[in-house]
């Protein structure tokens, strides 16, 4: 049985760090793990996706459609782009951050104003978080990604200790306290 997780966002938001924490938590819990990340041109402010799969034997590093038990998004509308990957009944965690692409700013397209309503319609199990606000309150808005990881962690059967070790392994020592708090806030978010 392979567990699949998908984390999406915009280049520069910290999707890869969130992916790393998740993968490390799965390793700390003793699983085989495969991940896939986007590099190169796709990172320059583009839409970014990281995929994490773990279990006893993992084959494809790419998550097949309909198999992600968790879909996390660091940007509100990005969560809508990848709905095909979500498993039935899967948890969707969305940070309410809004990053308007140049396609919208230059008038070629419109950034939807009803993102939250759309998300609620599409995803029955939705956690819509003010992750950036929480992270800012804790001291650094850039830790929004770790708030999201905390919220995701509730739907994944990995021991809490593994998560905390994984956070510790992925962030600089001087930022550890803030990131652990961010994780806990996310994990406790309603």
């Amino acid at each position: 049985m392979t567990t699949s997780v998908v984390i999406v966002g915009v280049g520069g938001q910290g999707v890869l760090l969130a992916s790393e924490i998740t993968a490390n938590a799965a390793i700390a819990a003793g699983h085989q793990v495969k991940t896939n990340e986007v590099h190169g041109m796709a990172q320059r402010g583009g839409s970014v996706i990281a995929q994490i799969r773990y279990g006893e034997e993992v084959l494809s590093p790419l998550v097949p459609e309909g198999e992600a038990v968790v879909l996390a998004s660091l940007e509100r509308i990005e969560a809508l782009r990848y709905s095909r990957l979500l498993a039935p009944g899967g948890l969707v965690v969305v940070s309410d951050q809004q990053i308007v692409p140049t396609t919208a700013s230059s008038g070629q397209a419109v950034y939807p104003t009803d993102a939250e309503e759309r998300l609620k319609r599409v995803y029955p199990k939705l956690l819509y978080l003010k992750a950036e606000e929480i992270a800012t309150r804790l001291g650094n808005p850039r830790a929004a990604n770790v708030v999201v990881v905390g919220a995701m962690s509730r739907a994944l059967e990995l021991p809490l200790e593994a998560w905390r070790e994984a956070v510790a392994s992925a962030v600089k020592k001087e930022h550890l306290d803030l990131n652990l708090k961010a994780f806990d806030e996310g994990r406790g978010a309603k």
Binding site: L17, E20, I27, H31, K34, M41, A42, S60, T102, E161
Partner: protein, 650 residues
Amino acid sequence: MDCLPVDTVRQPTRNHIETIEKILCKRLHAIGPISGERSACISARMRRLKANRLGAGIPVPKMEVHLKKLISGNEAFARGAYEAGVTVASGYPGTPSTEIMEALVHYKDEVYCEWSPNEKVALEVGAGASLAGARALVTMKHVGLNVAADPLMTLSYIGVEGGFVVCVADDPGQHSSQNEQDTRHYARLAKIPIFEPADSQEAIDFMKLAFDVSEKYRTPVIMRSTTRVSHSSSMVEFGKRAMLRNVAFVKNPPRYVPIPIWGRKMRVEVEQRLTDLAEAACVSKANRIEYRDRSLGIVTCGIAYQYTREVFPEASILKIGWGYPFPDRLIREFAAGVDKVLIVEELDDIMEEHIRAMGIACEGKSVVSPIGELSPDRLRETRARMEGREIPVAEPLAEAADLPGRPPVLCPGCPHRGVFYGLTKHDVVVTGDIGCYSLGVFPPLSRQDVILCMGGGVTLAHGMDKAGEGRKVVGMVGDSTFFHSGITGLLNVAYNKSAATIIVVDNRTTAMTGHQDHPGTGRTLMGEATIEASIEEIGRACGIKRVVTVDPYDLGATEKALAAEIESDEPSLVVSRAPCPLQTRTMVGPLHEIDQEACVNCGRCLKLGCPAIESDGDTVKINSLLCAGCGMCFEVCKVGAVEVKEGGAA
């Protein structure tokens, strides 16, 4: 728990290769060989984790997992080369291959590593090292091998001394590439072996095997990766580094000099070598048959093996890891052992064509598209097609139908923007090149009209000019691209008296691939200070009389310089110079904001295409999390609505 080999704690410390022992040792300050005491602490931690899991009623996977590390395919290629005893490595950055050299340079005390100016140079450096007796690795992306093809073809004839592997990363799906060529053709063209790993452990194992094969048969070897092998991480075990070879070139002209009298003899030997290699491929551990249900047998290679097992779990598989020369005997054995044969290969029908020519009936590209990358989802479609089932078409989500696209864009504060903005003032044809500035093709800047290949920005401009194009032609290349293959083009511009204006957008790094050094940065891959090749001086040495340098953040001066050079009928060179802010990680200037009272919503600042400037049609705002403080919006605003943000000083 066994003590870990010393070298595991000297591994690259890049975040995403955090390993299980590192996680567990972090608190134990395990910077050094792991002692028995530390080891006991780690075991205790693992037992605790295990107990937690048992308490939660979750099955506990095998415990030896904790000795494994999660590393990317590219890191694994580097590790494999290190373990194989490589002492010289060279390459040119290119997605998805770049991180191989970046991981290998962590072993710089034991492996000489360099970014060469281009792939041809890199391959020749590796060839020289090999002929002197060292094991050499050369890395590049698929299109890089086109540049390096000339030396590779003849190195096949000359043969190698120390093992020689060129690791080439293909990009099926064109995530970051201008084409989707299949490197396997080059193995056949050069008559040399090719290996195709399916995960990180195989990247290590096959790399070591490839060096052994290279030396045993005195042949260069291609290690083919693809985006999903290079940029996926999976768990591996490390081995020890091999004994190093003696380096001493032995003079032997009939062997190393392919003048016709000797070259013809080499030609015959190449064919004999292919026969021997084909036999070796049949018994190699890189190729294996996995019999399951015999009604369907699938021949597959590389990452496609993983997708195949995911989607056809019951099928028998001939897994090809050593793809050329073809292991004919093994293919016949497999085909005879199954009822029906399907070939699942990414991109071209190279195996299929060969297997059909062997007289074996099979399906392949009739059900597996040759275009784009494969995935479990695409193979599910293949399976449905074969079983005559309807392929379910997912209902497009109404909620996602009108989402604005999010293509990659020039970053906030990108210095290239100043040049592109200046060019919007002129009705010119811009021949572009490969790099971040490719992104200048998108609206609102729209100032790249054609892109062909590395260095093509310079040469296409000259060709268009000579053809009599009525508008002025401007050729654009980046700094790294200029050193890669722009110099010969510039020499041609001067020599053959072009009226084209050549612009080098010098951001002091190879930015698109993640900020690698090049001959103009003053630093080597190994971190040593070195020469800073001057683009202006090279231009003058080529014979260009009009050479001008601009600061692209000064839009007025940039526009003026561009206008003067575009006006001129002489060959001219404009160097736009400012470091990439993504690399310097500093603000270009103070944060800016828009005074909503003063803003008349004229849209002038939006013509910069800066992702930090956001508009919903009615109001324009600057996203202070994205703003890099370059001030170009301040310069273009005619009503003084853009101002330095309060408390936003850099």
